[in-house]
Amino acid sequence: MKQRRLVKRILAILSSITIILSMQVNASAATQYAWGPNTWTPYQGSFYASTTYVSVYNMKWNSSQVSIWELAQSGQFLTWLTTEYEIRPVNYTTQQIWVLGSESFSTNLPAAYCEFQPDDPEDIAVCSGWAAGYVAETSYYGRLYLSAASNAPTTPRYIFESEYGQTVPLFDDSLPLCYEQYVSRPGLTLPSTYFGTYYNW
């Protein structure tokens, strides 16, 4: 009788482990959403890209979005919620377009950093490492001043992506939790954003 109870108990423990594990595995995968309005993306903003300059600006969050960041961060003790605004060139690597490592950037995003790395050829990004620091209705921007690579294409297509995730101190290799890609017209399947043109949402 005792042994049967013990077996039951062990089975209960194992099923609990399975549930917790499945929750963790789900949390480690990136999920793509249709472009806005999603909580992690400002309700308005503009962006522009060229071979010498990339900017994201006039970005604003409303008070309910900001309170969600604060609430979400308050439940995290070991990680920080981050947001990233990425430029992902289509058919080109970042090294074919820009001289990597020579950028200057200016931004009023909280705990801001820039991803502009030779070993990450897919995108460049301006990021905030402290999304809970956003203030409602403040106008945020991030601008990168760049050098064009020799023979850089002048008007390639690119994808503009807004994403959020969580990072841990020192080092991290997790995927973003959620991301969305800007579409200039609903229904388009190919990215329709080009260098040298301003876009708003």
């Binding site: 020579s102 909280p110 990450d120 020192l170 290799d173």
Partner: protein, 230 residues
């Protein structure tokens, strides 16, 4: 006798319950920690993987308590073992300084090349990161201003307002990135109380972690500010 048996049964039951709770809690905590540290990714059989390990350099304010001390120790050890090894490090200052003041701080040691400076008005959120091509900070700032003049500021009122404050001299340097031999960095750190951290752009644990998983390490500079502002 019956009472004793019943007591024993109750005790055994309680022990099993307690043990179960402890095991579940331990597993939950272990998995939660593993999850937030991104290490559970390996369990996922998904189509998406992250090939990059991001290392945040200079992010002292959010790192564990002893991190700054450990990094100073790392500089010290490296200087003893390989004094001439060239290293790149993010240095944090204890305040917001002018270009001349920063030049004085680093001119105490020869053979130091400045790669980048971080500036912003004291106590406010945001940062300006300026690439310094030839090691001369003033030239780097001039080059940045030329680029702003060429491209404009998208007629964005917030950017224009911030740039005006930059031109008015309201920005100070709170961190910088330099390249120099390890012993020079060590001397710089030992001789200068204005440097509150020196974080070399190399993390042994991250490199080993990445190597085990066939990933690439990207060092991302995120220097903390002396006043704790973001």
């Amino acid at each position: 006798m019956k009472n004793i048996n019943s007591k024993r049964k109750t005790m055994a039951k309680s022990a099993i319950m307690a043990l179960s709770v402890v095991i579940i809690a331990a597993v939950a905590v272990a998995l939660a920690v593993a999850g937030v540290f991104g290490r559970v990714t390996a369990f996922a059989s998904t189509e998406e993987t992250s090939e990059i390990v991001k290392v945040f350099v200079g992010d002292i304010i959010r790192a564990p308590n002893d991190y700054a001390k450990d990094r100073f120790r790392y500089v010290d050890n490296l200087a003893a073992k390989n004094p001439s090894e060239k290293v790149t490090a993010v240095l944090g200052l204890d305040g917001y300084y002018t270009v001349d003041e920063v030049n004085k701080i680093i001119s105490a040691s020869n053979n130091v090349k400045v790669n980048r400076v971080y500036m912003w008005p004291e106590g406010e959120t945001g940062r300006l990161s300026i690439y310094v091509e030839n090691g001369n900070i003033a030239d780097g700032i001039k080059s940045y201003m030329d680029k702003v003049n060429e491209t404009g500021l998208d007629n964005d009122p917030q950017s224009i307002a911030d740039y005006k404050r930059f031109l008015n001299g309201e920005y100070g340097i709170f961190a910088l990135t330099i390249t120099c031999p390890a012993n020079v960095l060590n001397t710089l750190v030992l001789d200068n109380e204005r440097l509150i951290y020196a974080d070399i752009k190399y993390n042994v644990e991250a490199e080993q972690y990445a190597q085990r998983r066939g990933k690439t390490v990207n060092y991302i500079e995120l220097p903390s500010k002396p006043d704790g502002a973001y």
